[in-house]
């Protein structure tokens, strides 16, 4: 049993999103240091604004400007900020009802310590020096002495050069562990062996093994060495060059039934002109120096396999 494998796995995505009229006005407003809410038919002002009334589901379009000062409705002291959070030093998460608004906005409050924070305290927006039309244009809130102005006034939501979309970058860091079956497979590959696992019930050999037989729903346990030679069961000719892939097109991608396996795996075929690859072609893996898996498969020179020998693996 090889040691449990693990490797860093990073998932990173810059989600590009378009904005509706209300979100566009709100985020453009932040860029211009103007906070907009939206008024409901019931006379409430929602900040941050939404396009549909959370109670009646009615469409909301009537924008209202509110103050950049407000009152903390609840808070939570964060002694150890996490990497992408608004402040790098300990801060309070706060829900703030801005003067003139009826609902609260979530953000960070810069305060010296938890004793300096309480529900009901007065705060004001600290604007970010560089603003792009995003919620982070509010750098954070800071303590403020003035009273509640209740300030709100209709606003047409018109700005020059409105923000119509945002990009919200995200990155999550994982440590991937492939589990018992795949660890054994990867461990064998590092020694240039290919192993599958046999189902104790239907006796099929799965490669690569994932630990379970998808037909019987039981754990595959018995390790079986397969190949190295195999048979092309089916293939396609790739004519589009993949980004960052250093392989000349056209090339052939094939399903290969390794000898002793009951499932075909897929790999690139090399060492033969693309238009001469055929079903039944006998192939063997080609390992490159230091490679963790076969680079490609090439013809062995044996006679083609009989169709009946692999038809069940198509």
């Amino acid at each position: 049993m090889p040691e449990t494998l693990s490797a860093p796995l990073v998932v990173e995505f810059p989600f590009t999103r378009s904005l509706g009229p209300v979100q566009s006005a709100f985020l453009t407003g932040l860029r211009e240091r103007t906070v907009l809410g939206v008024s409901t038919a019931g006379g409430k002002v929602l900040v941050p604004p939404v396009e549909y009334d959370p109670v009646t589901a009615e469409e909301l379009r009537e924008l209202t400007e509110v103050a950049a000062t407000g009152t903390v409705t609840t808070w939570a002291w964060n002694p150890a900020p996490r990497p992408a959070q608004p402040l790098a030093t300990p801060f309070a998460w706060v829900l703030v009802r801005l003067d003139g608004a009826d609902t609260a906005l979530l953000h960070a409050l810069d305060a010296p310590g938890p004793d300096a924070v309480h529900s009901g305290m007065r705060v004001r927006i600290r604007w970010a020096a560089e603003r792009t039309g995003a919620i982070t244009d509010i750098a954070c809130f800071e303590p403020y002495d003035g009273g509640d102005t209740g300030q709100s006034a209709p606003h047409d939501g018109e700005f020059t050069d409105p923000v119509t979309g945002i990009v919200t970058p995200a990155r999550l860091d994982y440590r991937y562990t492939p589990g018992r079956a795949q660890s054994a497979y990867l461990d064998a590959l590092s020694r240039q062996h290919i192993v599958g696992e046999r189902c104790p019930s239907c006796h099929k050999v799965y490669v690569p093994p994932r630990g379970a037989c998808p037909t019987c729903g039981v754990a595959t346990t018995e390790q079986v060495e397969v190949g190295p030679r195999g048979t092309v069961t089916t293939f396609c000719i790739v004519n589009i060059k993949a980004k960052n892939l250093d392989i000349e097109v056209p090339y052939v991608y094939a399903h290969i039934a390794l000898d002793g396996a009951d499932l075909a795996l897929h790999a690139r075929i090399g060492g033969i002109p693309y238009d001469q690859v055929r079903m039944g072609l006998r192939v063997e893996p080609v390992w490159t120096e230091g490679g963790r898996h076969p680079d490609h498969y090439r013809p062995t020179g044996e006679p083609d396999a009989d169709y009946d020998a692999y038809k069940e693996l198509l």
């Binding site: 409705t73 998460w93 919620i135 999550l172 991937y176 630990g211």
Partner: protein
């Protein structure tokens, strides 16, 4: 409406880390346990539904790998929810109600150990106004806890008592991750301390549902689902009244929870403060045994913890320890979405 019951339930031991096991390897033992308990083979199951999240695994379509464990080939009738397995159970219950299946296998799993679950869960938040600030799951729960303290609904001592009661109860739960006296610890995000927060862990659960006489044939004392309903609140935290859970109350009303008292309640409250909200919304008093399993404070495999509440409540009925139990599942920050089911055993007072 058809009579539908939970006839079998199994869960893994919940562990902080399961590096040596893939998702399907975690899952298979519990799938086999519920099948063995009912004598059903995978091919006998009318409908299979699962719950999990790609964001925990960090991989797209991660549930398809786990599907190998149920014997999905030749093709079966199958579905998946990117939610807690409690919602997969709801879908399976609907499927049985439509008459398209008499039995269903429901399973869910969560491996939180590969990532930082506090950060991972931020990706379910509103991506325009909230997600870019990365407020983690503990921070959002802490805002709710402070609102409860300000409202006079609880205090830090009472929250610590909830943690203590849950983990002492979990001492009898062989699957629990955190059990016995656990120190309150330091603040994670004030007012929540380590003791107020659930353990981070990996685990899986499986349930079999069956209708009518099939259920009676499979289980000596089926846990009949007398009512089940789920509701959602406004997604913006600042719009919601954080000290209450109207969606839980409405779901409970529709599920018939208030028609007669329950003796047991399995509440999906990963944070101590959330139990305060749920007890209020569900009008639970001290006559009700709340979270005898230890609840999500004792084991919180994300995406399975809600299904486990349904399973634990059903298992108490199976064992004759409860006649009428309430099971609750939640999803989203600060109890955003809530499901309530009422489960009953037959010949309750015979």
């Amino acid at each position: 409406m058809r009579d539908v019951a939970i006839v079998a339930f199994a869960q893994t031991d919940h562990l902080r880390q399961t590096d040596e096991l893939s998702e399907v390897e975690i899952l298979m033992p519990v799938l086999h346990q519920v099948l063995d308990a009912t004598g059903l083979r995978a091919s006998d199951i009318g409908f299979t539904c699962s719950g999990s999240s790609d964001y925990l695994a960090g991989r797209a379509f991660s549930f398809t790998m786990a599907l190998d464990g149920v014997g999905a080939n030749p093709p079966i009738s199958e579905s998946h929810v990117e939610m807690d397995g409690a919602w997969a159970l709801y879908e399976a219950w609907v499927k049985i109600q439509t008459g398209q299946a008499d039995t269903a296998l429901v399973y869910s799993y969560g491996k939180s150990s590969p990532g930082e679950v506090r950060d991972v869960l931020t990706r379910q938040l509103d991506p325009y106004y909230v997600g870019p600030l990365w407020p983690d799951s503990v921070a959002l729960a802490a805002l709710q806890a402070q609102a409860l303290i300000d409202a006079g609904d609880t205090d830090e001592t009472a929250l610590a008592a909830i943690a203590h009661r849950s983990r002492v109860a979990a001492a009898d739960n062989p699957h629990a991750q955190l059990k016995g006296a656990v120190p309150a610890g330091d603040y994670v995000v004030r007012p929540l301390r380590t003791g107020d927060c659930p353990p981070v862990g990996d685990g899986a659960a499986a349930v079999i549902l069956a209708a009518g006489d099939t259920a009676r044939a499979l289980c000596p004392r089926p846990a009949w689902i007398r009512g089940i309903d789920h509701r959602i609140e406004a997604h913006s935290l600042g719009v919601r009244e954080l000290t209450d859970s109207p969606s839980t109350r409405l779901a409970a009303t529709r599920a018939g929870a208030f028609e007669r008292p329950v003796d047991t309640a399995e509440l999906h409250a990963p944070f101590t403060s959330q139990e305060v909200v749920l007890r209020k919304a569900l009008r639970l008093d001290d006559s009700v045994d709340v979270n005898p399993s230890g609840g999500a404070l004792a084991a919180n495999p994300v995406m399975a913890a809600g299904l486990i509440r349904l399973g634990e409540a059903a298992a108490r009925i199976h064992r004759g320890e409860s006649d009428r139990a309430l099971a609750h599942a939640t999803s989203g920050p600060c109890l955003q979405q809530n499901m309530v089911a009422v489960l009953e055993g037959e010949s309750a007072h015979a």
